[in-house]
């Protein structure tokens, strides 16, 4: 069972504002999808998980400085900027 509170909790974790209408739609869909995912309950806990498929370990490169973006390039896609910096929203109210 997925409750409306669960949906709002998940939306808050994901930092996505949702409307009441969306919340109810997602609730019904999530219930169905999560029920399908429960098929994995049949799988043993003894099997080792695989995080990535290639047998690569500790891929290093030489610590040599390379080319990086200029300040202008880094900022060119930002809507809000000030004195050559990104300008973000305030962290605290008030």
């Amino acid at each position: 069972m997925v409750s409306i509170e669960d949906v709002y909790h998940i939306a808050n974790l994901a930092k996505i504002e949702i409307t009441e209408e969306e919340a109810e739609k997602f609730r019904v869909e999530f219930e169905k999808i999560l029920e399908y995912f429960n098929i994995l309950d049949e799988v043993s806990e003894e099997i080792e998980p695989t995080f990535q498929v290639l047998p690569l370990k500790n891929v290093f490169r030489d610590d040599k400085p390379g080319k990086c973006l200029s300040q202008e390039e880094a900022l060119m896609n930002a809507r809000h900027r000030e004195n050559g910096y990104f300008k973000g929203p305030r962290i605290f109210e008030g």
Binding site: E22, L40, E48, H80
Partner: protein, 457 residues
């Protein structure tokens, strides 16, 4: 469709400039909606250079369409999302650098499902891609624009990306060749990430020879992707008797199976064919979606409306601004996947969903390894049905289930090729050839054999 050979016949008749102009006019008149951005001026400039003998390389003068989740310096790259509708990358993806080094002409950026999340291209912020064989049907997804552009003769070659079938599905629905390479063969540097541990950039083309050439260009070492295997690819067609395994767990409806059996009958005359069972595939679809959604929830956390992409006029407080930008910038399917991924990774559910899905991945890999001890290639229908009508599949879970034959390949990281094998009810049908790790050569050789004999069965 236009092969590279056809293309150069056109170029010789007039000029590369005229041939590219004609192609662009065709795209501008088209009802397919395969492109989000057409690079008219840049493409014509490159064509002019080719005509003057200044453009050199393996793909000199050949038009290539690039999926819009692959970054192109100075050319808008949107991921078919409102979130990136105005994003201009400041660097090229590795594969785009390679295309430029080999003289290719980038003709435009192709339409796709938003952030590559979908099977039909219906989730694109820029509208659905229509199937060139029936405008009321989907072209498949998520690389729908790339598949449709080849089928509609709006490009010669195309790049797609495949996280759970996103190259093979539109290749099947549009009747073109499409390869999901072995994980690590092609650098993902500059591929805007959705699910890193599953996705690969891959080639799409109207024939095997062209597909192989495009793969030769994009495969290879790149230090900027730490999961790059550092391997090159060279196509060396070999026609030998193969052991081919028909995957018991991968099925389709009658329309598709009828043609699939005809292909098997043809292959039986030349190769050894037997059924093979991969019992873990029962869990593959659920495992795939949990991993993909979990990785998506983490990857798409970068869209904060501050550094690039969609932004609001006024900066409020952090949490409110962030949640509002994402509410307005993301489409419904993207929100659904980010939210379910956040849930699967959240305290109390990590073991039940995410870790369990990774355990299933181990089982799937073991099943494929066992199968390749006995067989050289595995075969299945690519998609479980013919292309559906636009709007036909409204329920998300029903849509997810259309990926049942394609997602196990991404979980294991093995390569798989869609081979178009003709038409049923006027719509394209594809078969999926699955190979062992880094054995693209055998896949493409068998694909070539089917292509050359298509009219005889």
């Amino acid at each position: 469709m236009i092969t590279i050979k056809d293309w150069f016949e056109r170029v010789e008749e007039s000029s590369c400039y005229d041939a590219v102009s004609e192609l662009i006019e065709k795209i501008e008149r088209s009802k397919i909606n395969a492109y989000i951005t057409v690079c008219k001026d840049l493409a014509l400039k490159k064509a002019e250079e080719f005509d003057k003998g200044k453009l050199k390389g393996k793909l000199a003068g050949v038009p290539v369409a690039v999926k819009d989740n692959i970054t192109t310096k100075g050319i808008r790259t949107t991921c078919a999302s409102k979130m990136l509708y105005n994003y201009i990358p400041v660097f090229d993806a590795h594969v785009v650098e390679r295309l430029k080094q080999e003289g290719a002409i980038i003709i435009g950026k192709t339409n796709m499902d938003e952030f590559a999340m979908g099977t039909t291209t219906e989730t694109s912020y820029f509208g659905v891609v229509r199937n060139p064989y029936d405008l009321n049907r989907v072209a498949g997804g998520s690389s729908g624009g790339s598949g449709a552009a080849i089928a509609a003769e709006e490009t010669v070659l195309a790049l797609g990306s495949d996280t759970g079938g996103s190259i093979r599905c539109p290749a099947s629905f549009c009747g073109v060749f499409g390869l999901k390479p072995t994980y690590g063969l092609v650098s993902r540097y500059g591929l805007i990430p959705y699910a890193n541990s599953l996705e690969q950039i891959g080639p799409m083309a109207s024939c095997i020879e062209d597909l192989a050439l495009l793969l030769e260009v994009i495969a290879g070492k790149d230090d900027r992707d730490s999961t790059n295997a550092g391997k090159e690819f060279r196509f060396n067609p070999k026609f030998r008797k193969l052991k081919i395994g028909v995957v018991k767990e991968m099925n389709a409806n009658e329309d598709v199976m009828q043609r699939f059996y005809e292909v098997l009958e043809f292959l039986k005359k030349r190769h050894e064919i037997a059924e093979v069972s991969l019992p873990s595939l029962k869990y593959a679809l659920a495992s795939y979606y949990i991993i993909a959604m979990s990785e998506a929830s983490s990857n798409l956390a970068r869209y904060d409306g501050v550094r690039y992409g969609y932004a609001l006029d006024h900066l409020t407080t952090w949490t409110k601004y962030f949640a509002k930008v994402r509410a307005e910038g993301f489409g419904e399917e993207v929100k659904r996947r980010i939210m379910l991924g956040s849930y699967a990774l959240s305290a109390g559910y990590y073991g039940k969903y995410y870790l369990k899905a990774l355990r299933v991945r181990t089982l799937v890999i073991e099943d494929f390894k066992r199968a390749f001890e006995k067989f050289d290639v595995l075969i299945s229908p690519t998609m479980p049905s013919l292309p559906f009508k636009i709007g036909e599949l409204a329920d998300p879970l029903t849509m997810y289930k259309m990926d049942v034959n394609t997602v196990p390949i991404n979980l294991a990281g093995v390569p798989a090729l869609n081979v178009p094998v003709g038409f049923v009810k006027g719509l394209p049908v594809g078969v999926q050839l699955i190979g062992n790790y880094f054995d693209e050569n055998t896949l493409l050789s068998l694909g070539l054999e089917i292509e050359k004999n298509l009219n005889s069965f």
